[in-house]
Subunit: 418 residues, 2 copies
């Protein structure tokens, strides 16, 4: 029996009416002859509510308890979806992470898949069940504790199941009808893309485009899962949405495919770090151990060693999500107290945003960075940090210029034109 | 290390502030030298919300999915309580039912304990944890599905843990400061009891007194668990609350200890049931299989067999929770269609309430029933069904007379006097 994975995000299952709407889409695929694995998120707002409770209870919380709490929302949706499907005469049952089991690492709050054995779910399909409704975002650690994959982890769950069960396609149902050149709330000129390359989607996702979670795209690319982003709130046809696919399947690429932004960025700078081999490893090892997601890293020389001075110093700047600043500061202070490294001052700027342009066409075209910087300069936007990769260029700027910068870049690269 | 079980109901953990208040009480017991097993309910209102979702999704729901959904609220509270205790420097972790594991039968929605192995929690106490926060109300079936024990099941969880871990005492923290002669909302004359016998508490609980759940009292009586009902919202001392204890520990009993009521009762009557051996077993077996909690049963002869008539007929009346009427009707109709039994008409009355007087003193005193019926007659309350046991007398009456009847009986038996 051919198999589909269908994933419904929080807004697509926000209330009982929407769960029913989603169930109808599942039933339609069953009627077309598919076995279906449905991956569900928590009802919109629920996870945030629980995260709020956890953070209000404990600032530096035990991530195992965080996971035990916030994973509960998906269990609720999975049960309700299974019930709704049963009401529509579709044989279905719900699965919590530990029941499948979805085996993950013990990295609570950011766990990674170890294995998804097929036996239990396959046995139910063999018994005549047509749909397995799986709680997204969660798994179980080797110690038997509930883990979560981090925010947006339900996308990753969907792709992992599509890979494990050799699904024909993995459809991500969400509240937008596809991937856009940029956020349509920021410019009306934003245009839906019919196709986008895995690599581009990966950059856009990691840069804050909310449509798909980074790791889900990574995983889809690695396992060649055909991934489609479609709207829960429209009639879906074969040509709906945006197909995320191999670069070869895209006829003609523009230099830049999209402009992404991330509002909740912070920048931390360690001034006058004693510059010796291993100091960067010590700093970022400390942050990684504390579960801080460091994004951009820039190192400048601040003071050269001279014959008179026995030591050289450097400034180390990195960006991270705003809500991890406290965690990072505590980890750094503890490491300094333990003698791991030393610096003169810690400067934190929680008022920045990241803007990125992305496109596989960049590889074969020079001068993209220059055009980007010129466009920002023309709007008097000061650039604080720059990083580049093969297919993207990212800058940190003052948050107040974020919308302006996105609009300027969208215009400069003519993204409104197909 | 001596061990206490402390159970906090929904109103005692209704928000983060109350969870903190409860955690302080736990920390105080740890400071007194106890290891503590904390059993938590869902935050007040949460379970009802989820039950509402399930019932709105599916009227005759799959109880396995119901359990998967409604058990999630306790997991949230358990995690938050563990975090709050950690913040107070009390080593604590949360436990979901399947993690302990709390092994139950597969009777979803009304599962019973099979075993609570101590190994996993004992191992954590041995590691230095002082508190195990266990999600109440839930367990895991032999098939690996989440089960629930039915409403109020967290009390039962608490007593079961107290028995399994040989706890010194099981304290049930709730929003009232003990067990009263009747519901103080119905009469201001209601009086708190310092002690009550297990048997009386059992009858009061099964009759709708909301303080403790029936099965928890049963279990406490069987395993001789010292059970105490105390308020979450007062300073608790050694003499607080109501101690539920053996009859011998109560110096002097009144004839009647309390008046209980149950508002959500329905009465169903099968008219002209063909009266043959096994017909009652067929009817109530059908209802039991459908998970209907039949309470009172009354059988009257409606038509005697005569030499001319080859068959005798009987009327069969039973009471059940109002929300199980549909379920009962469907089960009965299916059984009739299958030829299990036959009757002429099904009469349903969803507008009744049950009033009971309870007291171990009744055993040695005659005329209690006559006093009860006289008191009701004096208020012109018509009695529809009567059942009695050794220490209680229950009647069904029109719901609109419920408060009046409770007040009249409280006065008649002078329950306001200690």
């Amino acid at each position: 029996m051919p198999l589909l994975v269908m994933k419904f995000g929080g807004t697509s299952v926000a209330d009982l009416g929407r769960i029913e709407n989603a169930a109808r889409k599942v039933k339609a695929e069953v009627a077309r002859g598919y076995d279906v694995i449905v991956i569900v998120s928590a009802m919109s707002g629920r996870t945030n509510e629980m995260v709020g409770w956890v953070e209000a209870t404990s600032k530096l919380y035990d991530a195992r308890e965080y996971d035990a709490v916030v994973s509960s929302g998906e269990n609720v949706t999975a049960g309700l979806m299974a019930l709704r499907l049963q009401e529509m005469d579709v044989p279905a049952r719900s699965w919590q992470g530990w029941q499948v089991p979805i085996n993950t690492t013990s990295a609570h709050g950011a766990a990674r898949f170890v294995s998804i054995p097929r036996e239990n779910i396959d046995a139910k399909f063999a018994e005549g069940f047509k749909v397995a409704v799986v709680a997204g975002f969660q798994g179980v650690s080797p110690e038997g504790r509930v883990t979560t994959l981090g925010r947006g982890g339900s996308d990753t769950t969907a792709v992992a199941f599509a890979a494990a069960f050799n699904a024909e396609r993995c459809d991500i149902y969400t509240d937008v009808d596809g991937v856009y050149t940029t956020d349509p709330r920021i410019t009306k000129k934003a245009r839906k893309l019919d196709r986008i390359a895995f690599e581009e989607m990966l950059e856009l996702a990691s840069l804050g485009a909310k449509v798909l979670q980074t790791r889900s795209v990574e995983l889809a690319m690695r396992y060649k899962v055909r991934l489609r982003v479609v709207s829960s709130f429209e009639e879906v046809t074969d040509t709906s949405g945006t197909l995320v696919c191999d670069e070869e399947d895209i006829m003609e690429s523009k230099v830049v495919s999209g402009v992404a932004y991330s509002r909740d960025e912070a920048k931390m700078t360690l001034l006058k770090v004693e510059d010796r081999p291993g100091v960067a490893a010590a700093i970022f090892g400390t942050l990684a151990d504390a579960g801080v997601n460091v994004d951009m890293i820039v190192q400048n020389i601040s003071e050269l060693a001279t014959p008179a001075a026995t030591r050289a110093y450097t400034d180390m700047t990195f960006s991270l999500p705003t809500n991890q600043v406290d965690r990072a500061r505590v980890a750094i202070e503890a490491a300094v107290a333990g003698g791991a490294f030393a610096f003169s001052e810690l400067v934190t700027d929680t008022d920045v945003a990241k803007i990125s342009v992305v496109g596989i066409g960049m590889r074969s075209q020079v001068g993209v960075a220059a055009r980007m910087f010129a466009a920002l300069a023309a709007e008097n936007v000061n650039i604080k940090v720059i990083t580049t990769s093969e297919i993207k260029i990212s800058v940190l700027i003052d948050r107040k210029y974020m919308e302006l910068a996105v609009q300027a870049l969208h215009d400069t690269f003519e993204l409104e034109k197909a």
